[in-house]
């Protein structure tokens, strides 16, 4: 187990390194730089700025400097936000996105898993059909549509919830709903099909033949086997969601990492782009390792090598 985790971490470091390298060179291949947009800037000033951020050095040198800094956990200075380091920016923006994203995932699991199980259990009935309709619609409606419709009805028409900012708990309701709809629908579909699959397994017949009630056989014998695909899905989902959805953050004016990232790309804030990308990649890899470990605890057949 420990050996496996060490191996995975080694692999992770290689992956992150490769992602960082690819991002770095792709970014630099693209014409234009961070100071091109500001037209008023004089050639001298631009040269000075380039020198300050090391952009005048050859690419290979920039690359080695950057990689060295990363190894020390230093993601560099933001080019556009004067005087702020990338670490600082991520440090302030990530918790905002993570809080909303985390709540959304929690809601998605708490809605999706029971709904999917009930649908499988009541297969072919009205309840099943209602759940299928809900979950199919849930994955068919893009998040910007959900956001705007929620906003139109709950804020503009009914005046129940505030439209922007994060002042009170009320501000969280719509972003969390918007973020949770797709994953909860997806999880409920996933859960339904894997539950149906498990319910057809021989060991479920054994459970019934033992005289266990259906509730016990579902909760004890089926759920643990059926949840595996959901766990696999949760890893990357969690990584993506806690780093913030640009759409949701833009529509509800939330100062999170998602909108910061898009802002950094359009503003050509190289260090911020790199920093956020590496941060996301790291999170993703960590989540995948966690999923594997969780798998091992749920299913003893899994052999982590």
């Amino acid at each position: 187990m420990a050996k496996y985790i060490i191996k995975r971490i080694a692999m992770a470091i290689i992956t992150i390194f490769a992602v960082a390298t690819v991002t770095f060179f792709v970014m630099n291949m693209v014409p234009g730089g961070p100071f091109m947009a500001e037209k008023a800037i004089s050639p001298q000033a631009q040269a000075a700025l380039n020198e300050k951020y090391g952009l005048d050095k050859p690419l290979s040198e920039q690359y080695t400097t950057y990689m060295k800094d990363i190894l020390h956990g230093n993601l560099g200075l933001s080019v556009k936000q004067r005087g702020r380091t990338v670490n600082m920016i991520i440090g302030t923006k990530f918790p905002v996105s993570a809080r909303i994203g985390g709540m959304a995932i929690l809601a998605a699991v708490m809605i999706g898993v029971p709904l999917g199980s009930i649908a499988a259990f009541k297969r072919g009935t009205l309840i099943d059909n209602i759940i299928i309709v809900f979950s199919t619609c849930g994955i068919a409606v893009p998040s910007f549509v959900v956001c705007t419709i929620l906003m139109y009805i709950l804020s503009l028409k009914l005046g129940l919830l505030p439209t922007y900012g994060l002042g009170s708990w009320k501000n969280y309701i719509m972003p969390v709903m918007a973020l949770a709809l797709y994953p909860s629908s997806y999880i409920s579909r996933l859960m339904r099909s894997s539950m149906l699959d498990v319910m057809g397994q021989d060991y479920m017949r054994t459970a019934r033949a033992k005289g266990l009630s259906q509730l016990v056989s579902i909760f004890k014998h089926a759920l643990r086997n059926a949840i595996l695909p959901v766990v696999t899905y949760l890893g990357p989902l969690l990584a993506y969601t806690v780093t913030g959805s640009f759409i949701v953050e833009k529509i509800f004016t939330i100062p999170g990492l998602g909108s910061e990232f898009i802002g950094s790309i359009t503003g050509r804030d190289y260090p911020l782009i790199m920093g956020t990308t590496i941060f996301l990649a790291t999170l993703m890899v960590i989540m995948n390792v966690l999923v594997d470990v969780a798998y091992k605890f749920i299913d003893p057949r899994i052999n982590l090598k």
Binding site: D202, Y203, R208, A209, G211, K220, P300, R301
Partner: protein, 336 residues
């Protein structure tokens, strides 16, 4: 109480599939005394497993019992609620399945899966149940029972897992054990061991066994009585000797002809039964075996034969037997 432990009369059961009603059981009648071993023989789809499962109230969706009476140990099974059934399952009547590789839940330990059934049907606490589980593992001949309790199914071999399944089935000392092709998925050498174990346990615990198999060799050594099923019907029923030495249904005869015999001097060719089983969605009006029968007569294609008693136990449903009766009657008429 009746003289029988199990008494199934005129059971009819159908699967209501989207393509139509499949009459899986058509007037099935079977009975079994305490401590007896009944073999149900037939090819896949003949309804042998369906009969056994319906006795436990385990008929799979979309199957439904549509007629007949099922008695077991004083219970009227077809009238019982699911809740009442649960008290019997795993307790008075239990089952072992064909494939031990998939019949145990992969994510729980062996110990967990045995104690579960012990604690469900008795008042034992966890510790006592574990003690009982260890006892059961020893009973079914598993070495190092203490260690096995904490192992997962995938860590055991197929034969070992089938022993665990037997241990689960015997946990509450049932009156009846249903064995649904318990050896089909196992290696030949293991098969004999498992069958031997079952017979041994039967002697020790005195339960009745319903042995479902398509292997006549298995039933020959184990069973007191044999029911031969074809297309949802018991076509012949009798003592093991009756079936083997005096088969009267053409299907039974065909089955016996297709057993390899090593003792014969000449290497006789095995004689298979030609053709394939009937389409249960559109069963023929007459005898279901008629299209494959060597001795098929015109009547066989038109009318379902009724049962004819051969001895007080042995009976069979074949027009050939009726033919003898008919000829006798004709002669009597001629005489008169």
């Amino acid at each position: 109480m009746s003289e029988y432990l199990v008494n199934i009369e005129n059971e009819r059961l159908s699967f209501f599939t989207p393509a139509g009603e499949v009459k899986a059981l058509n007037d099935v009648s079977l009975h079994l005394r305490e401590g007896e071993v009944l073999g149900i023989v037939g090819e896949s789809g003949s309804g042998k497993s369906v009969t056994a499962y319906s006795l436990m109230g385990l008929t799979a969706y979309p199957g439904r019992l549509i007629g007949g009476s099922l008695q077991f140990n004083g219970h009227q099974i077809e009238k019982m609620t699911e809740k009442e059934m649960r008290k019997i399952r795993g307790n008075e009547i239990s089952i072992i399945f064909q494939d031990p590789m998939t019949s145990l839940n992969p994510v729980y330990t062996i110990g967990n899966q045995i104690t579960e059934v012990v604690m469900l049907h008795t008042n034992k606490n966890k510790q006592q149940a574990t003690e009982r589980a260890r006892e059961l593992l020893t009973l079914v001949g598993i070495n190092e029972p203490q260690k096995r309790l904490n192992q997962y199914p995938h860590e055991l071999s197929g034969g070992m897992r089938q022993r665990v399944m037997i241990a689960i089935a015997l946990a509450c000392e049932p009156k009846l054990l249903i064995a649904d092709e318990p050896t089909t998925a196992l290696d030949v050498t293991i098969q004999a061991q498992i069958l031997e174990l079952m017979m041994e346990l039967k002697e020790k615990l005195g339960m009745a066994i319903i042995m479902i198999t398509h292997d006549l060799g298995v039933v020959a050594n184990m069973c007191d009585r044999i029911a031969v099923m074809y297309a949802g019907k018991v076509v012949e029923y009798g003592n093991t000797d009756d079936i083997f030495y005096n088969p009267s249904h053409e299907y039974t005869k065909g089955l016996i002809r297709s057993i390899p015999k090593l003792t014969e001097k000449e290497h006789n060719k095995l004689i298979p039964i030609e053709g394939s089983p009937v389409d249960m969605l559109n069963p023929p009006a007459g005898c279901p075996f008629a299209p494959r029968c060597r001795a098929c007569m015109k009547i066989c294609l038109r009318e379902m034969p009724e049962y004819t008693d051969i001895t007080d136990i042995h009976y069979s449903a074949c027009w050939l037997l009726q033919k003898e009766e008919f000829e006798k009657q004709q002669r009597q008429k001629g005489d008169a």
